[in-house]
Symmetry: C2
Subunit: 273 residues, 2 copies
């Protein structure tokens, strides 16, 4: 545990290229919140070409959860518009393999799965704006403790497209009640990374029965009297959609273990120039 924490603290000092190199070599397999300051982090979904159009339409119709920031060419494992040398087969710390709508395996690289019929999609991640929240004096529990941010299934229905539907997944951060307006103002311009929160206050209003039992990530602490649960649309939403589909193969990031890009967090568009 201490070794993991030391590695996390070491990774915190690396820039985007150094960190991606470490991940590519298999030397960093942890969660990525708090890492690679000021750069866009992304969720990952890889699908067979047959499902690509339906999936892109799903993202277009659910832009709070699925802001699409990169798409590879068919069979080409490089995200050319997100960085100079981003190989989707090796450059994330951990991957989930879904087969026929069920989680089949969690692996550190996917070279053996990649083939010429696959397309990879990158979806912006709320880790992108956490650096700015910290700069504004906010304390982010899961970064302080090297935990995976808690994520929950909600009762907020997605707009469906082909086999993709189900409901929105959210990430949660504990924020002081009198600071929620500040958080909204800081986050709202990050439209490539889920933007402003979709809900704060009573978790039951969006179908979350028990915040101590997240569907992905680590359980949070209890809130104090002057604090509230604040929820953001989350790029794990497509994985929740996959669980209600019969898609034969889907490869994703493992929740919390994101792709680090070469795109600045405040770029007007997520395209490398």
């Amino acid at each position: 545990m201490e070794k993991t924490f030391n590695l996390y603290n070491k990774a915190k000092k690396l820039n985007n290229n150094q960190l991606r190199e470490l991940i590519r070599c298999g030397d960093y397999k942890g969660q990525t919140a708090g890492l690679s300051q000021n750069m866009l982090q992304t969720n990952l979904i890889i699908l067979e070409k047959k499902y690509a159009l339906h999936f892109m339409v799903f993202c277009q119709r659910n832009p709070k959860a699925c802001p699409l920031v990169g798409v590879t060419d068919l069979g080409n494992p490089f995200f050319k518009t997100l960085g100079k040398n981003i190989d989707v087969r090796t450059d994330l710390p951990s991957y989930n393999i879904y087969k026929n709508g069920m989680l089949f395996d969690t692996v550190q690289e996917i070279t053996q799965y990649w083939n010429k019929n696959l397309i990879a999609f990158a979806i912006g991640c709320s880790f992108t704006f956490e650096h700015l929240l910290i700069k504004h004096g906010f304390s982010i529990d899961h970064i302080n403790n090297n935990k995976v941010v808690p994520m929950y299934k909600t009762n907020i229905k997605n707009i469906s497209s082909g086999p993709f539907g189900n409901s929105m997944v959210v990430s949660m951060r504990i924020i002081k009640k009198n600071k929620i307006d500040d958080v909204i103002n800081i986050c709202k311009s990050f439209h490539w990374a889920h933007g402003s929160p979709i809900h704060y206050g009573d978790p039951k209003e969006i179908g979350i029965v028990n915040t101590n039992k997240p569907d992905w990530g680590d359980a949070p602490r209890d809130i104090l009297n002057d604090e509230a649960h604040v929820f953001w649309a989350c790029g794990v939403t497509p994985q929740n959609a996959i669980l209600k589909s019969d898609v034969p193969l889907c490869i994703s990031h493992t929740p919390g273990h994101m792709l680090i890009t070469d795109i600045s967090q405040d770029a007007e568009i997520p395209i490398l120039h």
Copy 2:
């Protein structure tokens, strides 16, 4: 000419639903700048399913010119997420028909062209923020004179996807030099409608030789000493891409003649709730 201007002034008083109804009946065939205050206006591209994935990726890679705000289901002519009753076959004032990369016809409705193998794409339009510019005291020439905004081909290369490439098209508005910063600030949050300008000052820097000869729309007046040409990425960019492709059939709006949606100009996402 006077009759056209009177009809335009009448149309200015209508809301989005009333205006779309007038257009659907064939009673308004003009340009739409200055109409339907505070609502998102969009460009239109209709393609056969075969080209849809490549086109969506083209939009993702060129988000300044092609902010994708709506996609129909295959063969379904209604933009469900953009309005309660938007029929893409009849609800634009004018359509361009492209065959094999050439402009084939300009028509007032496309019922005879629509078939079950087509998908329609809506792309945000800069007409959306013009209302706010006017509210801030700016004078917009083409709205004052019921002209079509001038649009130009540039030397700014698009990032290609499949058969779609070529270069960016821009729209142009004449702005006082000491007000350009204000314009940038007003427009930058309209990321669904091209956002901040991509260039101002010397048109030759982006490959425009003669501003008096736009590639689409009406010629502007000459600028005064204290004025500058200000250029925005334009949703006619896909039509320019089509001209360099061999796509058998593409139906678009006629430049300047946009789809009026039910989405508020300041909605965080372009999705009807």
